[in-house]
């Protein structure tokens, strides 16, 4: 149990740092989507399925879509 949670938290940290240092904003958005997805799995393991569902549908799906639409309207690469 503690091993699964630690691995999930570690993967979340890696994805979060990756989202911060990517120059390609589309990749950064996908990395932050991964953070949300792993967070929802973590919530499920911590016995909070209600929060896990909200995190998966809002954090991973809708927020990612809104960011991708915003990138399509502006520009893809950070200066």
């Amino acid at each position: 149990m503690i091993i699964i949670v630690s691995l999930l938290v570690l993967a979340m940290l890696v994805a979060a740092v990756a989202a911060l240092i990517y120059r390609d904003l589309l990749s950064a958005v996908i990395a932050s989507c991964l953070v949300s997805l792993l967070a929802s799995i973590l919530f499920f393991f911590l016995q909070a399925p209600d929060v896990a569902m909200a995190e998966a549908s809002i954090g991973a799906a809708l927020v990612t879509a809104i960011f991708v639409i915003a990138i399509r309207r502006t520009k893809r690469y950070e200066e």
Partner: protein, 229 residues
């Protein structure tokens, strides 16, 4: 450079929060209200899911505020994008791949059904109005991605949103006249525990919230996707 500064700031914040939280024992109960909910929620509200009995039972008024916040946010987004001006409709979008458009035909009704299941069974199984509404909105997002010409019926979405918001407030006001006479009182019969028609007003409110959040978030996606040049 900015990323390095961001990482250093993040580390400082992390260490600060970590040190301040170190003094508090993790997971230790600080109040007795949690135990009260776990012991009495089933008899008090008739809902099997204790989270739902807190969100729509004990703290229903807070949920009304939450729904209002989401409504104002969607309204503000619509207002900002409308003043940005430009023509309506989405021209110059290339058609989606065969896999996406064929998969959408099969998945769209299933996702809608799943979202409806989540909010109608909010008092029995994990999930509820907000989760079900977000799932329904993601089904509409799939339609927008797979078939560029299609758009939701905007007046239908607005009507659904307004009616379900009114239903929430009307049920709350009915609680003033019937039953225990306070706003959002559970005046309907609680029924048998663990059946679909139980828990009084909770499933009705959660259906209203599910439809409201679903149409609101679908409207947000619609506002963002349409071309403004």
């Amino acid at each position: 450079m900015r990323a390095t500064v961001g990482l250093i700031l993040l580390a400082v914040i992390g260490v600060g929060v970590g040190i301040s939280l170190l003094a508090i024992p993790f997971g230790a109960p600080k109040t007795e209200i949690g135990d009260y909910y776990i012991e009495n929620a089933r008899e008090d509200t008739g809902a099997t899911n204790v989270v739902t009995s807190v969100v729509v039972g004990y703290r229903a008024f807070d949920t009304l505020g939450e729904v209002t916040v989401l409504f104002v946010a969607a309204l503000g987004l619509g207002a900002v994008l409308a003043t940005a001006g430009g023509k309506r409709g989405r021209s110059g979008v290339e058609p989606a791949s065969l896999i996406l458009s064929a998969g959408n035909i099969f998945l769209f009704p299933l996702i809608l059904l799943f979202g409806a299941y989540i909010f109608t069974h909010g008092h029995l199984t994990p999930g509820g109005g907000f989760q079900g509404g977000a799932v329904i909105a993601s089904a509409f997002l799939l339609v927008y991605l797979s078939s560029p010409g299609k758009r939701i019926n905007e007046s239908g979405a607005t009507l659904t949103e307004s009616v379900s918001g009114l239903v929430f407030v009307a049920i709350g006001l009915l609680g003033l006249t019937y039953g225990t006479h306070y706003f959002l009182a559970n005046f309907l019969p609680k029924g048998t525990l663990n059946t679909l028609f139980s828990a009084g007003i909770i499933p009705v409110i959660y259906c209203a919230i599910g439809l409201k959040v679903g149409s609101e978030l679908a409207g947000v996606v619609d506002n963002l996707m349409e071309e403004t040049e």
